[in-house]
Amino acid sequence: MNRHTYLRAYMAGIVVPTIFFLVIATVFYIWRYVYNVPVPIERVLVFPMAVVPNFWGLWNILFVASHTRTHLPIGLHGALLPFVLAPLGILLLRALNFPAIPDFSHIFPIVAPIGLIAYYLLWKYLVRSLNEVLGLS
């Protein structure tokens, strides 16, 4: 099974955020429409819906393509992804004039380490497992 390696890497990469998105979107929509929170979440939902899964897929392709040279553990490779995604997410919030932009300077010291830990663990256990299922490692 050595054909279409990068396609399989992309597919393995997008699984986790795609499944997560179902949960996240459900929580956000309930928050918005059941509890009538006046925050237009749907305006920025494109980021977790489209940008994040695609970046996970592309990041996994990068991992598969570079692993023989870098030998970087997959957990650390995944923990690098927030350094790309977080600036993009903040940029999108500002570009779309999202009204509930939090003061990132206040929450950054808390969100950044948790995000890195979450990405590290998710990539180390879930994405690696999916890569093994698809015969990528």
Binding site: P48, A118, L121
Partner: protein
Amino acid sequence: MNPHDDNELRELLKRSIAPMNDTELHRDLWPRMLRRLEQQQPLRVPWFDWALAAVAAATLIFFPGVIPALLYHF
């Protein structure tokens, strides 16, 4: 569809599908399955990862306001 058509259809199906004479397995697949299961090592989570998960969970409990910002990046 009358009984005559049913019989005709049955005959047509019998003729179009080749009979299976040799339906027995020539080898036992279970030992291979057992070997495959034994090759799979159980998932071992090092203490460091448990500690990281605990720190993340504790932080989310004490600062629930950061959860939306975190979920936004998943």
